[in-house]
Symmetry: C2
Subunit: 418 residues, 2 copies
């Protein structure tokens, strides 16, 4: 029998009984996915039965089975990928629901909300940072971590309440784009300052980010002229779902590549597809994808919450101050930036902008890796970021019913008049 040296293919995909390390990792990953999904759905069920936001139930379900509580589910790379695809698909479907023209009409308002709501948290964070004895750069980083909105949770609540067509929803979505571009710039400047070289790459990154969103928005109207045939020309495509899935995935990766959040990419692709004749087919086909993937985002977010930060009194104070400042500054940004929508509509905009997420966590991780902050501030920032996220479904559910539809003098239709 000859012996030979060639590599043994890694076939652990099949290792239902294989005892190899990869086989175990695989079985763990499958089991964790199942547990996270089940916990999210049970959590949602319980919360909806007591008339609370389903998304909080999903977060809590994830937390309960996650590593910081029962430890039944492991948040491994696979769970993270499902979570990311979940929020990417969520923002894509939100993009599908938005008419581009409507979004552009609220453009100036979105820029105002996004910019004010970005600068105020930085000032507040800088102040708090200096007050607890940090240097200017670390203090600025604390502010930056609280500056950028994550619209995953807000989108879900808006969709659940059936208000994606309202002006405040469009302002929130537009402002989140503005916000993400500003964060891209700010992260570039801050890491340049921290490393002592504010090179031309910062500018290149910013230009790439703006160009990505700009080209996406500019291309979207072209979608109107595309025939359905274009989406189903491949023989593998009976429906446009698979080609559009590829497009969405590519958009998300491309956004990430230029330094933006992946969800901005899928949102822009969603805006584009919304203008094409296949919108309804895609909306329909993506319903089950959304139903299967999105719960992973909320369950994993919940599973990552380390509540122990909230159990230590001295830290809890800092966390609470940061979280409250985070909510208040966004609220001011919303009210000032979109006052023309009327009092309650602009309050809803502010509430919708308050959840922080990926960018805040990325900034915190960056600060840690640059040595600007220590493990303590890192954990405090994460807890504050998560807190701003947890309160949003409740505040939105409280605020939205108060916001009048189509109110005269700064009502719903004001967006069109801006």
């Amino acid at each position: 029998m000859p012996t030979f040296p060639f590599e043994i293919p890694d076939l652990s995909v099949f290792s239902s009984a294989g005892g190899a390390e990869e086989g175990v990792a695989f079985a763990d990953a499958m089991f964790s996915l199942f547990i996270l999904f089940l916990a999210a759905k049970i959590g949602e069920e319980v919360f909806r039965r007591i008339n609370q936001p389903g998304v909080i139930g999903e977060l809590l379900g994830g937390f309960i089975v996650g590593p910081f509580a029962l430890g039944l589910a492991d948040v491994n790379v696979t769970a993270e990928v499902f979570a990311e695809l979940g929020v990417v698909i969520l923002l894509f479907t939100v993009g599908l629901e938005v008419r581009l023209d409507d979004l552009l009409k609220v453009g100036p308002m979105a820029i105002a909300v996004g910019t004010i709501g970005f600068i105020l948290p930085i000032i507040a964070g800088l102040g708090i940072g200096l007050a607890i004895g940090e240097d200017v750069l670390p203090a600025a980083l604390i502010g930056l971590a609280l500056a950028a909105t994550s619209i995953g949770i807000t989108s879900r609540v808006l969709a659940e309440m059936g208000v994606l067509d309202r002006a405040f929803s469009r302002v929130i979505l537009g402002a989140a784009i503005v916000d993400d571009i500003l964060a891209l710039l700010a992260i570039g400047i801050l890491s340049g300052l921290a490393e002592g070289d504010l090179g031309p790459e910062t500018l290149v990154t910013l230009v790439a980010g703006v160009a990505f969103v700009g080209i996406g928005l500019a291309l979207a109207p072209l979608g109107r002229r595309l025939p359905r045939k274009l989406f189903v020309w491949p023989k593998f495509a009976d429906t446009p779902v698979v080609p559009v899935f590829i497009l969405m995935f590519a958009g998300a990766l491309l956004a990430q590549f230029v330094g933006l959040a992946a969800i901005i990419g899928s949102f822009v692709v969603g805006l584009f597809v919304a203008e094409t004749p296949v919108r309804e087919e895609v909306e329909h086909g993506f319903r089950s994808l959304l139903g299967i993937f999105a719960p992973f985002f909320f369950a994993v977010t919940g599973a990552n919450i380390d509540m122990s930060a909230l159990l230590q009194p001295n830290l809890l104070v800092i966390v609470l101050v940061l979280a409250v400042m985070g909510v208040v500054t966004k609220l001011v940004g919303g009210i000032v930036g979109s006052w023309r929508l009327g009092k309650w509509n602009s309050i809803v905009v502010g509430l919708g902008m308050s959840p922080r997420g990926e960018v805040g966590i990325v900034v915190s991780a960056l600060g840690l890796s640059l040595g600007l902050i220590g493990q303590d501030i890192y954990a405090v920032l994460l807890a504050a970021v998560i807190l701003t996220t947890l309160v949003a479904p409740f505040t939105l559910q409280w605020g939205i019913p108060k916001a009048p539809r189509g109110e005269r003098h700064g009502g719903e239709e004001a967006g069109a008049a801006v």
Copy 2:
């Protein structure tokens, strides 16, 4: 500023820019998934345009971007999980297409095909093993690795050709269940023999496996009495898709837990759901899930092919002999076991049974870990297993058009007469 020791939550799900190790693994996993999916679809497109089976294009696409060729995509645990969910969903949807009564009607025939087609490869493998100088136990293991059919590829080809309703398809599906139960028993006996203790666990495992399939089949008719309401009672469920997804996932994990292939579990759940009033809704809702997940199974299978085994003349001979014996023995099993279907219909059954997959690879890995075989035989077995899989789409596409529909004396309807 207080310092504190609590654990930093693993939030790398958000690390679009995070430089941590997990962040890299995450970005790699996302990128690999995209590349595998894209390659599968391009491969399918090319093959369908030249009138060849699309599934071979998907396999080849995966191979080309995989670690044994261009190396663009990494077959990590995440890709494996997507692949497994892909084949689990595939067999679930196949189960949805099958009427339980039709399956039970071909029961005796399926048992004959499954049993003959299981015993013959073991005898052949044993002979070849002894001929190349192995001991009895390793030689038996070689046979066992070639004994169990994997119907992932066959199912896809049958679905693609629109012949899932024909008698030969039902015989293949039934025989694959029989086959998998026999493999469960044989693996238990063989590892007992190799470890010198053939304990009662072997029996327990077998009973659990038979009980799982038996209870599943027995429960299926009850599905007819279930109201649709039962599937949409949760508030989170507008459609039955999410509850049924949970059921399917649970079935797959349960099957794996009792020692069967996960796909047997999802197939049985599919049979059950097929009997309920929600069948069409579920079929419809699962279409996009199938479209997104299934390509990963074929791309990952392709990416795992180490063609170098086929480049070494002396090994190639053994690989080819094993593969040819593998195909021939299943063909004999099909013809003898289902001769009543008529010549070509029974040939199609044999051809459909020829692809080996997960079980063959699990048996090989088991042999390696028990020290029964070395790395060389392990690689040869994997190559032979993969070869039996690669030829099936071609032979099926060649054989199926020749098989008469509803032929007198042993034609299509013979299944009902058995």
